[in-house]
Symmetry: C2
Subunit: 639 residues, 2 copies
Amino acid sequence: MSSQTQPLTGIDLGVAGDLAAQLRVDSIRASTSAGSGHPTSSMSAADLLAVLVGRHLHYDWDNPRADHNDHLIFSKGHASPLLYSIYKAVGVVSDEELMTGYRRFGSRLEGHPTPVLPWVDVATGSLGQGLPDGVGVALAGRYLDRLPYRVWVLCGDSEMAEGSIWEALDKAGYYQLSNLTAIVDVNRLGQRGPTELEWDIADYKKRAEAFGARVLTIDGHDLSEIDEAFRSVAEDGSGQPTVVLARTIKGRGFSEVEDHAGWHGKPFPPDMAARAIEELGGERHLLVRGPLPADAAPGPAPAMPSAADQAHGAPQTPAPQPPAYSLGEKVATRKAYGDALAALGTDRPEVVALDGEVSNSTHADEFAKAYPGRYFEMFIAEQQMVAAAVGLSARHYVPFASTFAAFFSRAYDFIRMAAISQANIRLSGSHAGVEIGADGPSQMALEDLAMMRAVHGATVLYPSDATSTAALVRAMADRPGISYLRTTRGAYPVLYDSAEAFPVGGSKVLRSGPDDAVTLIGAGVTLHACLAAADRLAGEGIQARVIDLYSVTPIDTETLVTAVAATSGRLVVAEDHYPAGGLGSAVADALLEAGPQPLHLAHLCVRELPGSGSSTELLAAAGLDAEHITAAARELVKA
Amino acid sequence: MSSQTQPLTGIDLGVAGDLAAQLRVDSIRASTSAGSGHPTSSMSAADLLAVLVGRHLHYDWDNPRADHNDHLIFSKGHASPLLYSIYKAVGVVSDEELMTGYRRFGSRLEGHPTPVLPWVDVATGSLGQGLPDGVGVALAGRYLDRLPYRVWVLCGDSEMAEGSIWEALDKAGYYQLSNLTAIVDVNRLGQRGPTELEWDIADYKKRAEAFGARVLTIDGHDLSEIDEAFRSVAEDGSGQPTVVLARTIKGRGFSEVEDHAGWHGKPFPPDMAARAIEELGGERHLLVRGPLPADAAPGPAPAMPSAADQAHGAPQTPAPQPPAYSLGEKVATRKAYGDALAALGTDRPEVVALDGEVSNSTHADEFAKAYPGRYFEMFIAEQQMVAAAVGLSARHYVPFASTFAAFFSRAYDFIRMAAISQANIRLSGSHAGVEIGADGPSQMALEDLAMMRAVHGATVLYPSDATSTAALVRAMADRPGISYLRTTRGAYPVLYDSAEAFPVGGSKVLRSGPDDAVTLIGAGVTLHACLAAADRLAGEGIQARVIDLYSVTPIDTETLVTAVAATSGRLVVAEDHYPAGGLGSAVADALLEAGPQPLHLAHLCVRELPGSGSSTELLAAAGLDAEHITAAARELVKA
């Protein structure tokens, strides 16, 4: 068939059937041409997507970032051939690009969708993340944008085994996200064989309903049933998210592979592809557009659900202002985080906050009390919290998400994927290290700096006082990518005047002189011990330079190199973190990259599994107090 | 009241009521004495635990590791005052230890339970983990030990928001773990305020039933209802796990705080504690023991559920033997993992395997086919997979769990906690780095070495050929703690004869000579590029030493130091990983710890966000091919 030049609009189900066949054929052609990809997982969902894109998705394909557009997220990102075939069908990707670009080096048509494509909100491919991300977009739609756009998420049945899917449905129900529709492509077959529930649609239905969704069960290859289901979404007044459970057949449309195990993630060889295309009626080049979004003014702000709201109620305080702390005053950096975040909320309406049911510990509650309409209580669901931040970022909000630093490890896959999503999100982890004391090791983040430094493009900050914390929170708001702030449980003296600047990538030299014999490097709680150690050393006649390395990544290599030169390469690095990947590694990596230098490095860190105790006891036991730092420095100087 | 010397056994509900009051009083006393802890969260569950421990938990307190013992796991680990008060009530911890040890430095009565106590199977305190761990213990009980012991898990209501809880209930239902009982203490209040579902027991019930549990709803302060619920567990023939939803009151027993927000995680000041103890009838020192476990021979092995079993069926192959590979033969290290694991299954009946629905990619399916009764398909639920491994380790099995290396990031909190649990688990991550090619960044582990190196006591291995992989898999079986093996998707030449030894902590010097001018360090796929680069360099008259750093942690510092001395400090480290925390950092950390040396380090790694492409294209684009390694070495030598 020949190509059209004008897209068909307002298509009927007959054309949708042709479109579905085209999407199947193009999914096969693209994956066979690439020698890689998932045609059968695309074919099972082709009817669903043909009806959705042709008749229900309100989307201006020429303006992918238009505020009123619906959102289409492929949580089953491996069905990328289907998604890209849709892009061809709506005319934003050419057939040539599809055939020569898919999965090829340098192409934007990657194996799994990423936002290098303007129509993709979030990267998917790690299963169970697209729906949680969609919850974030839907939160923005309902509570912040207050626009009638819908979020449509295509889920695979295998990914329903991920707990994160249930965190997402739980929050979607709780926050009454009637603008969210999950379409589950229940094709019965996973990668290595049958899925856990196979075609037990009734079981899926019970689960989704129990988690607060309105559930529709359909034959995912019956265009009328599909159409009716999607139509009902627009008409539904239940205030619930919708889950469409579609019974489908993997490889649908090509009899040789339909419902056959062993064809997951495998392109058809060219001869099979030819037979499949013939069975599907040959190549087509329909150009189709669905409905455009209607223009609408933002609606009124809906109330937050009661349990989330109960902690704060209507804003009662005067608008928070940027904090100022007195030198020497003891303030916990987590408190400064809350102060600064609340003040940021005053200046910047796009700033939003999320927390994992510990806002009275992270001090995110200060923001929640001041700006309850921009605060999302995520309860104890850290994966969903980070995913919601990613979804909010896709709608151009400036999310700050907080919990205990240790518990961001729960969401590491989501943080890793957020970097691929090019999301701009800010994470604040409180209660880091053995400093937390009596709660013991389960609550102590001792791997978080390593974890966050390894994330692509991440900024990692670890301030030691309230003034620098507040400054860095402000800087994070404008920082692209993933930013991580590590805060401390206990209150320590304010070291800096509020006029001081704390550029990301900088550091502060707190003690220095012409006779410096050794450099002490700390961040967070250990900086205070470094200062005390410098005093002790001075008493012994040893002058020590002290560096506050509040910006762990990017790191101030120049100041480190200068210190190495000034102190004959003698460095003591002290960090409340396990040995690998934290402050010590950051210093080591930076200095080795800077070129050959004499380096006598003493690395003080947490080497044994800690238990409970007081901060003082545990820091001393880990060798992170002034006494141990003093001893390490003395030894370097005397060596 | 005075102390008994002989424990009461076969106690009635009247004594159980006294015991519950004692547990409340002791929870208050312990936390007030420590100035820290969670009395109110203990008080809500005291009636539940008094009846359980006094009348239903079959446990020989004098032989905590007896095979027939029931297992008691506090998934709400912050209720440690209650757990430790139980230990006092059964006479294994003295009142003095409870009052002077709780949360103190050096004490075994840590803020959250850890296995430094012989009655604790797994560390808890990161919520939503105790129940998944309990699933692992129950899997061992039903399928491996085949003993009638029961696993009782006390859950908090706040943690029901964690997706991992639903992964656990899903797998408990799927694997018919009728030996598992989750007791949910629905006390309505979380840390910062009301929980998401508050006292909506009906909603919890719908969810738990939908996930396959038999659900009982009770008043958690009515001793008869509690007793009847626990009694029914022993009599139930449904083959389902049981969830007991107990409506409770936080702070129950002390009218000043009952059901009051604002008392989470706060000990009572001494005056309040005195009033509370008075209201509860004063101090008691009952000594109580519940029933002992019955001796029983292991039962017959039950069949695995169908979808899990379908992929392999009954063992059909001859018992797998240790693999041997020919030099130069191209074999993927992931294939060697499967070969070696299956062979290990032949030698070692305690070896078990788990996989996250990708066993045909990780090659764990070789084990599954040979030993289906010792293989647990976890579908796409990586958190539960790691937790099940921890639970199996608590029962002294030797679990190997596999998935794509990238997806272990999903379970990082569980891996971190596994270290605190002193679990011995082995993780195998396949498809590492840009080497995987067309699937794109969502499937590429590029942070995994950093993540795993940061885990306390972890062993991190990254072999480059099949022979060394097989040897290291064998070594992992005997390795305590957390071991991680990184395998590669593509097939590369076998480098080593099967007689070669690969000690953990070792390395291999593959090229060396008296004129070495530079050292090339690789592991996994980059080692092959280092060897090719050495050939190219030799063609240019530059002799290069080549080190296979298959043991990333622990690392062979001696060989590195020797190479530094031999090649004037010129090192090229090439790794298919992001810059921070991986092979380059491991080398840097080791050399800086070894003392001052001249170091001219070129660190080749993945610095940009990759896309799709072939392995060759992506490795070249990241600067990890022979050409880039050659150029980096040449530059070091000429500098």
